[in-house]
Symmetry: C2
Subunit: 423 residues, 2 copies
Amino acid sequence: MADLVGNLLVAQSGGPTAVINASIAGVIQEAGRHEGIEEIYGGLNGIWGILQENLIDLNDEKAKAIEALKSTPAAALGTCRYKLDYKKKPEQAARDMDRLFEVFQAHNIRYFFYCGGNDSQDTAHKIHEQAQARGYDMRIMGVPKTIDNDLPHTDHAPGYGSAIKYAATTVMEIALDIGGMAVEGGACCIIEVMGRRAGWIAAGTALAHRSAADAPHIVLIPEIAFNEEKFLARVKETVSAHGSCIVVVGEGLKNASGSEMAADQSRLDSFGHPVLSGAAEHLEEIVTRKLGIKARSVKLGYAQRAAAHCASLTDVSEAAACGEAAVRNAVEGKSGFMVKIVRLQSDPYKWTTDLQPLGDIANLEHTLPRDWMSEDGFLPNEKFIEYARPLIQGDARVPSDGGLPKYVLLNRTPVEKKLPPRA
Amino acid sequence: MADLVGNLLVAQSGGPTAVINASIAGVIQEAGRHEGIEEIYGGLNGIWGILQENLIDLNDEKAKAIEALKSTPAAALGTCRYKLDYKKKPEQAARDMDRLFEVFQAHNIRYFFYCGGNDSQDTAHKIHEQAQARGYDMRIMGVPKTIDNDLPHTDHAPGYGSAIKYAATTVMEIALDIGGMAVEGGACCIIEVMGRRAGWIAAGTALAHRSAADAPHIVLIPEIAFNEEKFLARVKETVSAHGSCIVVVGEGLKNASGSEMAADQSRLDSFGHPVLSGAAEHLEEIVTRKLGIKARSVKLGYAQRAAAHCASLTDVSEAAACGEAAVRNAVEGKSGFMVKIVRLQSDPYKWTTDLQPLGDIANLEHTLPRDWMSEDGFLPNEKFIEYARPLIQGDARVPSDGGLPKYVLLNRTPVEKKLPPRA
């Protein structure tokens, strides 16, 4: 196949991770090795920014800044949650798609890389289909990322390993802290982690559980309906045995009727409206009231997807490799695929990248297999541990400046606009 | 002065920190250098355990384990919040004191080191006075620790530097995360940190604020009454200017009438009882409801005092030095003092240790000087920054094992009991 010559556009979408910028660095560094790729542009805030023709010139960034992206969390290009929603807003979606191709053509974009989760892969897929339908010669690749690890077909998603390395480290530290406190009647700490539909992050903290006494003692995931009675019995049992109990809960924990614990309608705020309190807060309350055990909660929130200071070196390497593979394959003529990570073996861990058609990704969710959890549903088992263990290996060193991590901000030299503003 | 020959007892008390074990390591390593000190014992769970004669033989621990204490968070000897409360429970306190001296005598304890915050220094002071009153020749020293930094007379307390290094790192990472998200109408994240009476930790996150655009944009401390109107105006202003607003709040934030925001009585839980929600949650609610700005909260909780993976090397060194100084001074004949850190200069930072009579510590609280905050009370100023900057310098490297920090647990070889059980 003859080389496709033109410009490259890369953008990020959805919730950031600690390593999403490593994928962008991979794209940029690999792009520099191919003559067919002329300009290297970044789209600010995903397709939302591309629709406004907000492009920046990544060739204008210093090579050191690009390398530093590998240890900088969050989305250096900005992200968005904007969708091409053909179902609910077909006219807007059609107009947006036209506009996207106007931008692509105006800037001779022939390589487009979109780094994100399920929704972003769906967007990339739609753009790929449209490129074909419009006969516009462009190579489109999806680059995976999500701390939630709910992308199908890839063994795991870049961003996940770092999220669980941080969360497991935090669980270990909190457990030591509480374990050293002599509290009559014991103590319980409930740590809420992200994961509205899948329990991957909560489960990942089980990497800190190396013996029965180790935290986490209980892991609650959205895939398994919460049973209050059994939960309280287990907390009581654990406190009796070990003096304290560390519970990790995925924010999307559901009761037997399938509604989220966090959406408890019985609490009212000072305006008299129902409060959407967190799952951890709810558990904290029942442990305190019903067992009389001192309970505290921790809510890691955004911290867990941005904690590059505790990133997994394996994760950083894989994220960068996914970006590189996207470019390499596109240059070789491939289009319409998401790069995926393929595990060759777990111990010692070996992996490679491969491609999956973008059409296979959309609307498929990858949840935690039931048989990777213990029979009682309270802890991941050895199958999960074997899966997750390799993903947190190695410490990604972040350069420091004045005692704090030294993260890079791009210069963001704007690419001159060539189109009238978006209608 | 003739050498006092006998055994040493060291114990920890109060809330743990990331470096309280470094002080214990300092005590043990220094003790090993003095012939007058025979056995080196640890009291489990502070005086509460000493009252039960729960002593362990620290000479029996491996030298490597003692060194590893310097990078292990939480209280390796266990802590307690047990007080000798002569005011409220004078008979119990008198009985406890008798029992303590029975234990000291039974084990020929001639050196006693108590590592903790205000209450623990008060306990050490009472024991010192009693030793003199009873004519029992013993050297008693307090070793400072508290993430809250509210100990008087010492420039700062070991534990504080690591807590703010971790909290400031987290603020920086969350700010990058949110800054990259394109949210129409902006976004606000409220990060709650510890500090019921003093705003030292909240203020410490300002080390991440190096330019107007940098987070934290607003720091709320218990020393300055919360003004909702001015707060909301500042959030709005910040979101307009920077697209997002990061607020750090000390858990003990108070309103104009002096009651804690967290103790808002207008919320009811599912049992119909008032909820003690967190300060962050309260702010999240008013930002959402009154400004219509998307708000999220993060509650670091116990994680912030245990995050040894992000500890300050300066803090670790100072904590160890405080333990060493306690032993060195006791061997030289001193008793009844707390070791304190004295700042010689800020830039370049130079410090040393000195002694303060234990009687000067009790019931004195060290709060943030009002003139270390901006006039509007929303951000620490350059005076605070100059003070805090040196305390987070250097990264304490934690050895890792399987991708997680390698923390040490002591063997805790019990010392044979010589007394009948406590009544």
